[in-house]
């Protein structure tokens, strides 16, 4: 087998037997993070002092934990207090929790970017604060957040390789398995790197497209 063939077979094996888990873990973690991010930001914006202080503290903690440590805590640590989760679920929850902290910050900064003047305009036609948020501020903040959220997805996708540490067979794990079987690391690792790169590159094109659309709507410059 020449090296191109080795690269291609490694790629095929990784796509067939690893990538689906990478995508599954990162997509579910992303949406878990989005839901958490929305909840966090709702509480920060609409909740009282104490509630938003608590959320802030939680965000600081979640951002301060190395992802792999959190995965270990959930997968190996929680069983000792009676909560046993399988490794895929642990990875989704761990990465989702951390992503929730980041996504809440992405959302919050977009809310701040639209808030003041749009809020005044919304209130001045007689909308309630709730309607102002749900029909004016949040829809715009979500649009403004889209580039950041897609970026966040690429970060989770890459971070999902950490699930290797708790035995989830995802793309990176599969590459390592191939390497161990072939006694040759370079080609399979190159294959999986190219794969991550291709996905991230495509998503960065999506981000550019979103920026373009946003500019048409008059956001940013």
């Amino acid at each position: 087998m020449n090296s191109i063939e080795q690269l291609l077979t490694a790629l095929i094996i990784i796509v067939r037997y690893g990538l689906s888990n990478s995508i599954l873990v990162s997509t579910l973690a992303f949406f878990l993070g989005l839901i958490l991010g929305l909840i966090f930001v709702f509480i920060e914006v609409l909740g009282g002092r104490l509630a938003s202080w608590t959320v802030n503290l939680l965000v600081v903690i979640l951002r301060g934990i190395p992802p792999v440590l959190l995965l270990f805590i959930i997968f190996y640590g929680l069983p000792s207090i009676g909560i046993s989760l399988n490794n895929v679920v642990s990875a989704i929850i761990g990465l989702g929790l951390i992503s929730g902290a980041y996504q809440s910050q992405i959302l919050r900064s977009s809310i701040q970017a639209v808030a003041a003047r749009q809020m005044e305009a919304a209130l001045s036609i007689g909308l309630s604060k709730w309607s102002a948020y749900t029909s004016v501020i949040f829809p715009q903040a979500l649009r403004l957040s889209l580039p950041g959220l897609v970026n966040e997805y690429t970060i989770i996708l890459k971070d999902s390789s950490l699930a290797y540490a708790i035995g989830v067979v995802e793309a990176f794990t599969q590459a390592v398995h191939i390497a161990q079987a072939r006694f040759e690391y370079f080609t399979p690792l190159l294959a999986v790197a190219l794969l991550y790169l291709a996905i991230c590159f495509s998503l960065s094109q999506v981000v550019n497209y979103i920026y373009l659309k946003l500019r048409v709507l008059g956001y940013g410059q």
């Binding site: 919304a122 007689g126 715009q140 008059g218």
Partner: protein, 252 residues
């Protein structure tokens, strides 16, 4: 207080921290009257307008609007704002909504009109400010500043407010676009709408205002007919300020 008084402001004060911004404003506006407020930057004109529709809470004094004191705690703020249209210096259109959706939002969410009825009213309001059908489905960013401000005016008048507040509606516009907005405002004044306009456009004041108020340092310094206040102010401060503005606009 006569019943023809739509708005009655008495000894209004506002502080931002220690900064005393409104220092006892007294102003009464009759139904159908258009009042122009002129005054230097930072004198508190925007703050006064914001107090009137309760975007800012005054610290002392009374505002009676439509026969009801609105500066008490019990008041339903939304119902008051619904009756007061506000036109902002920077238009503040909702960027994610098209021109017509901007006008419809309040009709649907505040007045609870069905979509069809809201659309009909919005179309009428847009036409009345000269925004024709081909612009209805454009987003604010696709419109010129003058068109955006006219949509903003349509958004305000579609709610059928009893009072319209304009906060320097033309000062963010390119000079060639100012005229189209002033024309709409003149038309509104001539229709007998009650409005308070903060502006430095003294040409507009002379043509459309029933009364001009000169505002400085958180207080009304002088008020009277447009000719009197603009062309022949009594106080030195007003004279100096209006002189500099007239220079600027090369009027007379």
């Amino acid at each position: 207080m006569g019943s023809d008084k739509l708005l009655f402001i008495e000894d209004l004060h506002k502080y931002y921290g220690k900064h005393h911004v409104l220092k006892g404003v007294n102003l009464a506006v009759n139904e159908g009257e258009s009042v122009v407020i002129i005054g230097p930057s930072g004198s508190g004109k925007s703050t006064l307008l914001r107090c009137i529709n309760l975007l800012v809470k005054p610290d002392k004094g009374r505002i009676v609007f439509d026969n009801e004191e609105i500066t008490t705690g019990k008041i339903d703020v939304r119902r008051v704002r619904e009756k007061i249209g506000f036109v902002f210096q920077h238009f503040n259109l909702f960027l994610h909504l098209t021109a017509i959706e901007n006008v419809m939002l309040g009709l649907i969410k505040v007045k609870n009109y069905p979509r069809e009825k809201a659309r009909r009213i919005a179309e009428e309001a847009l036409l009345s400010v000269g925004i024709t059908e081909e612009l209805w489905n454009k987003y604010p960013a696709q419109l010129s500043g003058g068109q955006q401000q006219r949509v903003a005016i349509a958004r305000a008048i579609a709610m059928e407010p009893k009072l319209l507040l304009f906060d320097e509606p033309t000062s963010a516009l390119d000079p060639e676009l100012i005229g189209e907005v002033l024309k709409v405002m003149e038309k509104l004044a001539n229709e007998g709408r009650t409005m308070i306009v903060v502006t430095h456009e003294i040409g507009f004041a002379l043509k459309a205002a029933d009364r001009v108020v000169f505002f400085d340092d958180g207080k009304i310094i002088e008020e009277g007919s447009p000719e009197q206040v603009i062309l022949n102010p009594k106080t030195e401060r007003a004279r100096r300020f209006l002189f500099s503005i007239r220079e600027l606009y090369r009027l007379e």
